[in-house]
């Protein structure tokens, strides 16, 4: 996963803290259980995002000529292929 484990933990903490600030949201489970669930969901979805990133990169690598990462052309293609992969998931 491109996002580190520590970062996922931190985001889960931040999200749980943010949830606690929403008056319209009631915690059914305790705060730590919610944080762990948020972390679990994030890990699943970030693995999915990594597959999207890999698929986009793979498509660029499979072009007839070499396109250097960091070039404008690479960025444009990456954006295009990334969007295509995202659409496949119906997001």
């Amino acid at each position: 996963m491109r996002v580190s484990r520590d970062k996922v933990n931190k985001v889960a903490h931040v999200v749980t803290d943010a949830l606690a600030e929403v008056d319209e949201a009631d915690f059914v489970e305790d705060r730590n259980t919610i944080r762990l669930e948020v972390r679990k969901v994030l890990e699943e979805l970030l693995n999915q995002e990594e597959r999207i990133d890999q698929a986009a990169r793979h498509k660029i690598e499979n072009q007839k000529r070499t396109i250097l990462e960091g070039s404008q052309e690479w960025d444009i293609l990456y954006r295009k292929y990334y969007s295509e992969e995202v659409k496949k998931l119906g997001m």
Binding site: V14, E24, T33, I34, E37, V38, Y82, V86
Partner: protein, 143 residues
């Protein structure tokens, strides 16, 4: 979408206070000194799609999915799912873009010392890394 970028302002130098100013196009962030309307520094993002660890679109999807799963799994109860999603989205964007904000601050600091660095022949990349590490420690950031 709510504006969630929080300023990381230099505190070590009382002479210059920088605050972020969002340009109307939203394409670039401009840091403007609060004591002079003429001193501006444009900070351009190198990769528009990945201004942070993840694309902004994907962070929106993450927020919606987290909300859905917390409600479906009966971890939380709410009649204002949209508000919950919005809050989660804002908090995620804030955290995922932290490294970008730190990078922006490093660039601003190094820009202020550019003449001195040229004189001493300091290596920009090395200085960038050192200042960044310093800021990461200062803000207790997790990158």
């Amino acid at each position: 979408m709510p504006e969630c970028r929080q300023p990381i302002v230099r505190r070590s130098s009382p002479a210059v206070h920088l605050a972020p100013f969002r340009s109307s196009s939203g394409a670039n962030d401009v840091w403007r000194t609060t004591n002079s309307p003429y001193a501006t520094l444009a900070v351009h993002h190198e990769h528009p799609i990945r201004i942070m660890l993840l694309s902004k679109d994907y962070v929106g999807y993450l927020a919606r999915e987290v909300t859905k799963k917390l409600i479906a799994g009966k971890f939380i109860e709410t009649k204002a799912a949209a508000k919950v999603t919005e809050k989660i989205h804002a908090s995620m964007l804030e955290e995922f873009s932290l490294e970008d904000r730190i990078n922006d601050e490093v660039r601003v600091i190094l820009e202020a010392y550019s003449t001195e660095m040229q004189k001493t022949g300091a290596n920009y990349q090395e200085m960038f890394r050192k200042v960044k590490n310093e800021l990461v420690r200062k803000y207790k950031a997790v990158l």
